[in-house]
């Protein structure tokens, strides 16, 4: 069993006392059965995106509704003092050089925590109710409920009861933010899903990126073994109003799936990555990436995901840093910085804990760190070939009209899913959706 020691990130103010403190009616207004009765939270149901009118009128991009909600509620928690530090007081700079890596000095993020052991050789681990999970956060740390709507219109209910039966997806603050607006999207929080990609959850995250309608609001995902610290399904997101080096990296097209999803590989970037974009609908894009992720996690390959450009682009980065670290193969200078190459670091946003690292931050250092996380050229090719096979296969199935697995409307697929099922349960589109209409499914480019 491979393990590494690291300081876990404190994402909730209720995380500190990890020793199970499960008294009934615990008095901290958590999400457990003890406190959830009568709890209310705003509910944002986004519009059904595949039908969104695109390209008709160039819509002005004022703050989108969801963006106002995220920013407004986040600022409210900020002013209520729920965060462990003021992230806007953390110095940030662009490291001089060709790529424009962003460095932040964040001395407060990792204080007061002892390193804990993390198992890094298993990407899929079962949910452990005794460890910290998001049902234990305080309700004041929740911002709103978020659901993928069935309607053509956004629906908003300012005061919606939390329906424990339906297991709402919620957006919560991260009390150790790495940038302004740092939130966690927790799909079906009460279902206690382990950190594992399923089709419906990734689609929900993509929905959020599209609805936020701001290219500087990205969602990220870390699998276990790729620096997720909490084994309870969640995505992260925050605002950083500049392009990430990862987004600027040139790419080379490798293939296009039958559903129009274009897959490219990044060139000249320290971490070998795949870029998915296009597709005849948002679900095409989401499903293709989900297929790839399900393959990776079933084959125990840790990975990170970045959903970028208002949901138009998804980056997939398989990585092996933690494994190398556990085997003692990472160079000591790199280890010493204590920077863990999770999704944000790989995207080019480095959060540094030590003043000397911040002052001496150079493109070369950043590159060296990230390069350690990358799969080797050979391994990357191997993994790609397997991914393409998986995606190709699923496409083949669908073309032959053999897809049978329909998404259960209540979303209970993954709850029941065994590992074996997961592989089969690709939520393909009904065949009717395969019409090759060139209908672009998103609005126009956001041009500053």
């Amino acid at each position: 069993m491979l393990k590494i020691k690291r300081v876990p990130t404190v994402v909730s103010n209720y995380q500190k006392d990890e020793s199970a403190d499960e008294s009934v009616g615990c008095g901290r207004n958590c999400l457990g059965a003890c406190c959830i009765n009568g709890a209310r939270l705003p509910l944002y149901a986004c519009k059904k995106l595949d039908k969104s009118a695109a390209g008709e009128k160039p819509v002005e991009p004022p703050l989108a509704f969801l963006e106002s909600l995220v920013l407004g509620e986040w600022e409210d928690r900020f002013q209520r003092g729920l965060f462990r530090y003021d992230v806007t007081a953390c110095e940030t700079k662009v490291i001089p050089g060709k790529y424009g890596f962003v460095a932040q000095l964040n001395e407060g993020r990792h204080l007061k925590k002892r390193p804990t052991e993390f198992r890094v050789d298993k990407v899929l681990q079962s949910f452990d109710a005794n460890k910290f999970n998001f049902t234990k956060v305080g309700q004041e740390e929740l911002l709103f409920q978020f659901e993928a709507g069935e309607d053509g219109e956004v629906q908003f209910f300012p005061c919606m009861p939390l329906d424990a039966e339906n297991s709402p997806s919620v957006v919560a603050i991260n009390v150790s933010p790495i940038e302004y607006g740092h939130v966690l999207l927790i799909p079906r929080v009460l279902d206690c899903l382990p950190q594992r990609i399923d089709h419906k959850s990734l689609l929900l995250a993509l929905h959020m990126a599209v609805e936020a309608a701001n290219p500087y609001f990205r969602l990220g995902y870390n699998s276990l073994g790729a620096f997720a610290t909490i084994n309870h399904l969640h995505f992260q997101a925050y605002y950083l109003a500049m392009p990430f080096p990862l987004e600027k990296a040139p790419s080379r097209k490798m293939t296009t799936t039958v559903k129009g999803v274009k897959i490219s590989e990044l060139m000249n970037y320290p971490v070998r990555s795949l870029l998915f974009q296009g597709g005849y609908s948002m679900q095409n894009l989401s499903d293709t990436v989900s297929d790839a992720c399900v393959f990776l996690q079933n084959n125990n390959i840790p990975f990170n995901i970045l959903i970028s450009d208002c949901g138009r682009q998804i980056f997939l980065m398989p990585q092996c840093y933690a494994e190398k670290q556990a085997l003692g193969e990472v160079s000591p200078e790199v280890l010493e910085t204590q920077v863990n190459p999770a999704v944000w670091e790989i995207s080019g946003h480095m959060v540094l804990k030590r003043k000397e690292d911040y002052e001496g931050a150079s493109e070369e250092n950043a590159w060296r760190l990230l390069a350690e996380a990358s799969l080797s050229e050979e391994r990357f090719k191997e993994v790609n070939a397997l991914i393409f096979e998986v995606i190709g296969c699923s496409n083949q199935e669908e073309l032959e009209g053999t897809i049978v697995q329909k998404q259960n409307p209540s979303g209970s697929v993954t709850r029941r899913a065994t590992e074996a099922m997961e592989v089969r349960s690709r939520t393909g589109l009904p065949l009717s959706a395969l019409s090759f209409s060139e209908q672009p499914w998103l609005g126009l480019a956001w041009w500053c």
Partner: protein, 585 residues
């Protein structure tokens, strides 16, 4: 609004002049909300199939579509953010929905007086489809070439779309690139000419320097007392341009001030200048050291003569200990004076360095020489403890000031370069960058930014919604402290509470009676939220004040609560300000 933006900067008939250019181009104004197009050439309209009315007021993104390369869009956005030029191939869409490749070349246009970005000019050269069509022709077979050529017009659009996917990129030819540059130059020259006529010059390179680099008037006054030839250059700006040149320098070199400001010093070198000396200077600058060299320089005097320049270069630090400038002091070597009564030229040279250092460090915290002059006059009055003027004398003084100001204003109006008695646009670190203004423009609610580092904490940004709410014009509120919104019935205890919060750097929400300048001069209850906003280095750069008219509080269930909306403005401002300080050059 778009009309106005264009007319204030340029003189009459500019549009007609621009219309005569054959190029396809647009001009945008980053200081208007949504960064709209304020001018589109006839060629551009023809290319895209839109009418002028459909284009004006829209953002350039309207012409991109589903197959436009996302990376190109990102690069353009980034160029705008960094206020620099960019040239790339871009897939645009016409009104009919057909896609076509263009070579997109965009440059910023700067105001000559303050170095602020005024406009962006984007020239778009269609990339000749021949190459692409050729590929298709090869597929179809050469026998059909003739037919194909015949129908070229209709077919090319279709081919475009089909072929697109395979084209990650469409490279423009050299001649197309030249054409783009030519277009840019032509447009710039017209903009410059017509801005000259209006008196508010623009230019293609940043002349005076933005951000922390407009020298304060107090520093300029101090420097003006140094009667020798020297320049200040700013190592923090790209290419280390000259930010100050003394009169003696201009006499020595024969250049005019506007010809040297914003330029790197290398224009003084010529064919016979020893490059090893240039290298030596560069090394010293990189190491932050001072050096003295003898270098052959070329003047712009009538005889275009060259001269041996005994040049001394030294770094100058500001109050916070960082190297803010390099000072370069020139002594014409042939003029070296050996008379014993004079200081040695080297000593005189170093005295300039010393004087600049003093001026540089003192002008940072507050102003310098003006104040010390005042101190002098006070000390002479020592015997008189105080002499109080009568009310009528005070009034007389105010009247005099007002009369002079009004004449200055009137005559500056005629010349087009307006002056006014209050600080309107903000100097120094306080000109908001165009990229920040673009980000702020997305926030459609009523808010202002004020700068706590400037005297009396003036407003530096006011949103359109704020102007609608209060009935004032933008130029009436910029540079003012927010107190003009208060009136006789405004509760002074609330004002006090706000002041306390601002002093402590805290946020607060108050309900305050404000007075509008709307037609009915009505007052209204303002639910005001104030918060400090930090920049990327964590320092409080602004306060944001978000107004919600209390009577308008909306209780409709589908809406966000007004408090949430208010806080969302604060959040959006934080994000915008934080990143605008992270621009790299």
């Amino acid at each position: 609004m778009e009309e106005e933006s264009f007319n204030t900067r340029y003189s009459l008939w500019i549009k007609e002049a621009l219309d005569e250019l054959p190029h396809n181009f647009t001009i945008t104004d980053p200081f208007l909300s949504n960064h709209p197009i304020v001018f589109a050439s006839l060629g551009f309209l023809k290319m895209t199939g839109y009418t002028l009315e459909e284009v004006i007021g829209r953002n350039g993104r309207a012409f991109q579509g589903p197959k436009t390369n996302r990376r190109s869009v990102l690069e353009i956005r980034e160029a705008i953010r960094q206020e620099r030029s960019i040239q790339l191939s871009l897939l645009n869409y016409s009104k009919s929905g057909s896609a076509f490749w263009i070579l997109f070349h965009m440059v910023p246009v700067f105001g000559k007086d303050d170095g602020k970005v005024i406009n962006f000019v984007a020239v778009q050269v269609p990339i000749n489809g021949q190459e692409m069509i050729h590929r298709n022709v090869v597929d179809i077979g050469s026998c059909r070439r003739e037919v194909f050529m015949h129908q070229e017009r209709d077919l090319s659009v279709e081919c475009d779309v089909q072929g697109l996917e395979d084209w990650e990129h469409c490279e423009a030819s050299e001649s197309e690139k030249l054409k783009a540059v030519e277009g840019i130059n032509n447009v710039l020259s017209i903009l410059t000419r017509y801005s000259e006529l209006s008196g508010r010059l623009v230019c293609g390179k940043r002349c005076c320097l933005r951000g922390a680099d407009c020298l304060s008037s107090s520093l300029v006054i101090s420097l003006g007392r140094i009667k020798q030839s020297f320049v200040l250059t700013n190592p923090c700006l790209p290419d280390m341009p000259i930010v100050y040149a003394s009169d003696a320098f201009l006499t020595l070199t024969g250049y005019k001030r506007q010809e040297v400001l914003g330029q790197n010093c290398r224009f003084l070198s010529g064919v016979d200048t020893d490059s090893s000396v240039l290298y030596e200077m560069k090394e010293c600058i990189l190491k932050g050291q001072s050096c003295t060299v003898q270098i052959l320089n070329y003047s712009n005097r009538k005889d275009k003569s060259s001269f041996w320049n005994l040049l001394h270069i030294s770094p100058v630090r500001n109050a916070s200990g960082k190297t803010a400038y390099f000072v370069g002091v020139q002594v014409e070597a042939s003029c070296r004076n050996t008379e014993s009564q004079e200081l040695r030229p080297e000593t005189r040279q170093l005295s300039v360095v010393g004087a600049v250092r003093v001026a540089g460090s003192s002008s940072r915290p507050s102003s310098s020489s003006v104040e010390s002059d005042e101190q002098g006059s006070v000390s002479r009055l020592e015997d008189w403890e105080h002499c109080e003027a009568s009310e009528s004398e005070k009034l007389k003084a105010v009247e005099g000031i007002n009369n002079v100001l009004s004449i200055l204003t009137r005559y500056s109006e005629l010349s087009g370069r307006l002056v006014c008695g209050k600080r309107c646009c903000l100097r120094g670190a306080d000109c908001l960058s165009s990229s920040l203004v673009i980000s702020l423009g997305r926030i459609k609610q009523s808010f202002v930014l004020t700068n706590p580092c400037l005297p009396d904490m003036p407003i530096v940004y006011a949103s359109d919604a704020f102007l609608t709410l209060t009935g004032y014009k933008r130029q009436e509120v910029l540079g003012q402290n927010c107190r003009f919104l208060s009136g006789v019935d405004t509760d002074s205890s609330v004002l006090y509470e706000m002041k306390e919060c601002i002093l402590k750097g805290q946020s607060c929400t108050v309900q305050i009676l404000n007075y509008s300048n709307r037609k009915d001069k009505s007052s209204f209850w303002n639910l005001l939220h104030i918060s400090p906003v930090r920049n990327a280095s964590g320092k409080t750069a602004y306060f944001v004040g978000v107004q919600v008219e209390a009577s308008c509080r909306n209780t409709e269930s589908q809406e966000l609560r007004p408090e949430t909306r208010q806080l969302s403005v604060v959040g959006a401002v934080r994000v915008a300000v934080r990143s605008s300080f992270m621009v790299t050059y």
